[in-house]
Amino acid sequence: MTTLITKTITKICLPLVILFSISLLLAGHNNPGGGFIGGVMFASVIALLYVVLGLNYTTSVFDPDWSKWFAFGLLLASITAFAAIPVGHNFFRSAFEFIHFPFIGEIELVSAALFDVGVYFVVIGTLLFIFKNVGEDT
């Protein structure tokens, strides 16, 4: 598995896949995608990195505290859920608005998208947290 070709390809793929996962996240509201899929996509490419290049190599270049990622995600999701209450709406009430930007065109702003971002971070964080802990254990 760890031939030079796989290693090289993996390194090239990494930023592309991450970009793809972000695009999945953002596209989610109207097209296939969303926080969960985007998160799993992100996690799988990092997992691929672990498998192909080894845990030690990966952690030496890139080793965030994944638990912080999911903590942040959960916080963001909760805040989004509660955000409507002070304004007088029900718990989890979401809002959306179509805004016309010059040059870019019409863009839809959805509060649920923030929630989706929260889900995205939770998924990445938990999966990679589990992954790293299982992988580290020798």
Partner: protein
């Protein structure tokens, strides 16, 4: 300020201040006691402010919206009865907390102590002012819980833990039984609201005529009896004496044990006037009164004697609240209420004396004490006042309420007719005689006779003022209430009686009525009391011998048996229900599903498979299905881990392929990604375990598993067939709603995503929380394994 607001404040201030105790203790250090005293005084003054309304005979009602959907509001109701117990809780609270400043060593964890005390006081006040039964139950259990904390305050002593657990087990179970009673009451009346029931004649009539009447009364009474240590539940109170003495004085004589009495009094209008009420309440009271009075003889610890005397005195009150007939409701209510007030004063006073003696003489064993009158003259006087009041001697307040007890016993006996005319007064005298004997023993054993030099400190003297004044204050009250009974009677006994009987009450209590029957009974009591007292030690010795010979004739024996057996049977049960193998859990789960589906199938009968099946499937679907079946069989049968996992992943990828054909790109994408990840994790894990394939499965197990698998497969098949084209018309699909509304309500075209983040966002929030927990779970599993070895 609105008077209902005052009550709400009185309930919440102790709680709020209890949580401020840690902050305040940073400032006050070990003088934190004064903070608690100030809180109690504040609470007391709030309750005193509503007194004019209560004395006038009015009631107060107020509410805050709490759970509107459940039909519950946080509402308070104040009449004479609740105000009386509220006054006791806060007033005695002030006295006890002041006394604690002297009693508790400054080396103790004082903030925790006062925090518990304040929490307890708040729960007690909340309990009595609660206007609905659910709220009452919540505060009721809070008092049990805080009492548990207080009894177990010295949490390194085995006896404390035992006593605390026992009190919690018995009173909390009683509380749950009581809750069942409250729910039945709601079934009968349609409301949780106490004042509504009290002030509605037709509801009370409905209760009396209802078929659930007796069971409801019984359930609620069990709760009350458990709390007030009546009947077989008395056993927790003596063990609760492991608490610091001020706690015993507060909870186990003046306030918490009165909760049961309060409940009986509160429920009086609802249930009284029936035979069941008299037999249950008075019957339990009379048996407890005599039994506890008798058992007190054997005790050698001052606090244990006081505990038994408390049980017996509470039984007096219980008995009197039970005195009621259909024609003459509430014969004993006024007497009971007056005795309730008096008991709180003299018993709290005696407990404080017990604390002083233990504090100064370093022992509470009555066999080691004696002759302390010269060294502790002031304590001696205070103790004598308290004990003589309990014994029922004039001119103390105990005399008055005991006379009333005798009088109401005579009246009740007369109302019931022979043989009760003789029986009830006789039992009352029996209780009085025993009370007289142990009251005298307290004074004699501690203060009279010769001082023992062995085991006692050289110099014993009266305690500091901070301990003496609270006790002295209570002693003064005892005399004051005895000499001028109109004060307590007018201020609180009459409104309380009116609150219980729901009609204005007027009482005439005085010391001298002339040579009446109750006075004769009192004289008989004293003569017999002195007679019994001369044989006191002999009786105690006989009790000891009896107990040694017949250890099984004791409620404690059965309590211990129950608690100890609970542990072993719980172990057995969990060993059966949680054997630890995933296989067993899975089989149990799956078999349950089969059974649950099987029952309706059997009930519905034959046509579980439709006559004409419509197999309209494309060729690629058949192919994919075929591959899936092959992959599944391969995953099960392949002899090594690696190929088995690959087969499993193949199965997963085939499913995602199916999703693509079924036009669900979202699901397919998710499936592919999740499958990839789980395969990688699997691969990571299996590198570390021996590559030999699992242990050989016995043929019987294999056979069993095959049967389970077959059953599950056919069940699922039947469900699916029936869901799509079965005999039952298929349910309308939910998806229409989401497809129609996803754009208009949430502004998204991707229905799956809109469902996840919007329509069912609450669900998703729960799921991602679980995901985070699972991550921590995995972390712990992996890292704790290393620690053990």
């Amino acid at each position: 300020m609105d008077s209902s607001t005052l009550i709400m404040l009185a309930i919440f201030i102790p709680f709020i201040f209890a949580f401020l105790v840690p902050v305040a203790s940073k400032l006050l250090k070990q003088r934190i006691g004064w903070f608690a005293v100030a809180t109690a005084i504040l609470t007391l003054s709030l309750i005193l402010k509503i007194m004019p309304i209560i004395i006038h005979g009015d009631t107060i009602f107020g509410e805050i919206t709490w759970l509107p959907t459940a039909g519950l509001t946080f509402n308070v109701y104040a009449d004479g009865l609740s105000t009386l117990i509220g006054l006791l809780a806060s007033g005695i609270g002030v006295i006890i907390m002041t006394y604690s400043i002297g009693y508790m060593s400054t080396k103790e964890d004082l903030p925790r102590y006062y925090q518990y005390l304040l929490l307890f006081m708040g729960s007690m006040i909340g309990m009595v002012f609660s206007a609905n039964t659910i709220q009452l139950f919540i505060f009721w259990e809070l008092t049990s819980f805080t009492s548990f904390l207080l009894i177990g305050y010295w949490n390194d002593k085995t006896e404390s833990i035992y006593g605390a657990t026992k009190a919690l087990v018995l009173t909390a179970i009683g509380g749950l039984v009581m809750l069942a009673g409250f729910l039945l009451l709601q079934v009968m009346t349609g409301t949780f609201d106490i004042p509504t029931i009290l002030h509605d004649e037709s509801l009370i009539k409905a209760i009396h005529g209802h078929e659930l009447f007796f069971i409801t009364l019984l359930l609620i009474f069990i709760g009350a009896a458990a709390k007030s240590a009546q009947g077989p539940f008395y056993i927790w109170l003596p063990n609760a004496m492991e608490a610091p003495t001020p706690v015993s004085a507060f909870l186990h004589s003046a306030t918490m044990v009165k909760a049961g009495i309060y409940l009986v009094a509160r429920m009086h209008p609802l249930f009284a006037g029936t035979d069941a009420w008299f037999i249950l309440v008075s019957g339990t009271g009379m048996v407890t009164m005599v039994a506890a009075g008798f058992l007190a003889f054997r005790q050698t610890d001052i606090k244990a004697i006081l505990a038994y005397s408390t049980i017996s005195q509470l039984a007096y009150i219980m008995t009197m609240y039970g005195y009621t007939t259909y024609h003459e409701p509430g014969i004993g209510v006024a007497a009971a209420t007056f005795h309730l007030v008096n008991h709180a004063t003299f018993k709290a006073c005696l407990f404080l004396v017990a604390g002083i003696v233990a504090h100064e003489a370093a022992t509470r064993d009555i066999r080691k004490l004696g002759g302390l009158r010269k060294e502790m003259p002031i304590t001696f006087i205070i103790a004598s006042i308290g004990a003589l009041a309990m014994a029922g001697l004039p001119p103390f307040n105990g005399f008055l309420s005991k006379e009333m007890f005798y009088e109401s016993s005579l009246e009740m006996g007369a109302a019931l007719g022979s043989p009760f005319t003789i029986l009830l007064p006789a039992i009352a005298i029996m209780g009085g005689v025993l009370t007289f004997a142990y009251s005298i023993k307290l004074i004699d054993g501690i203060f009279l006779g010769r001082r023992q030099s062995k085991g006692l400190p050289e110099h014993i003297h009266d305690p500091p003022a901070v301990m003496l004044i609270p006790a002295a204050f209570l002693a003064v009250l005892v005399i004051l209430f005895g000499l001028v009974p109109s004060i307590p009677v007018n201020i609180i006994v009459e409104p309380t009686t009116a609150g219980i009987l729901l009609e204005p009450a007027e009482l005439h209590v005085k010391m001298w009525h002339g040579f009446t029957a109750p006075l004769m009974m009192t004289i008989i009591t004293f003569i017999f009391g002195l007679g019994i007292y001369s044989r006191y030690d002999a009786i105690a010795a006989w009790q000891d011998r009896f107990n040694l010979k017949h250890p099984k004739i004791s409620v404690n024996y059965y309590y211990d048996l129950m608690v100890n057996n609970a542990r072993t049977s719980a172990h057995t049960l969990s060993a059966i229900s949680q054997p630890g193998t995933i296989k067993t859990y899975m089989s149990a789960l799956i078999v349950t599903m089969v059974v649950l589906v099987g029952i309706p199938i059997i009930l519905l009968g034959a046509d579980i498979i439709p006559q004409s099946l419509n197999f309209d499937i494309a060729i690629y679907e058949v192919l994919i299905m075929l591959f899936m079946v092959i992959a599944g069989i391969a995953a099960a049968l392949l002899p090594a881990y690696l190929p088995a996992i690959i087969a499993l992943s193949t199965l997963g990828y085939l499913v995602s392929l199916l999703f693509i054909y079924l036009k669900a790109p979202d699901l397919a994408l998710t499936q592919v990604l999740v499958e990839t990840l789980s395969t990688i994790i699997f691969l990571l894990v299996i590198v570390k375990i021996p590559q030999k394939f699992k242990e050989r499965i016995p043929a019987t197990t294999l056979f069993r598993d095959l049967i389970i698998a077959g059953a599950v497969a056919s069940t699922v098949f039947i469900i699916l067939i029936n869901a799509t084209q079965g005999i039952i018309p298929p349910f309308e699909s939910l998806s229409h709603y989401f497809i129609e509304n996803s754009m208009t309500l949430a502004g998204g075209k991707n229905v799956v995503n809109v469902i996840i983040v919007d329509f069912r966002g609450y669900d998703t929030l729960g799921e991602i929380s679980v995901l985070c927990l699972a991550a921590f779970g995995v972390y712990n599993l992996i890292h704790s394994r290393g620690d053990k070895t």
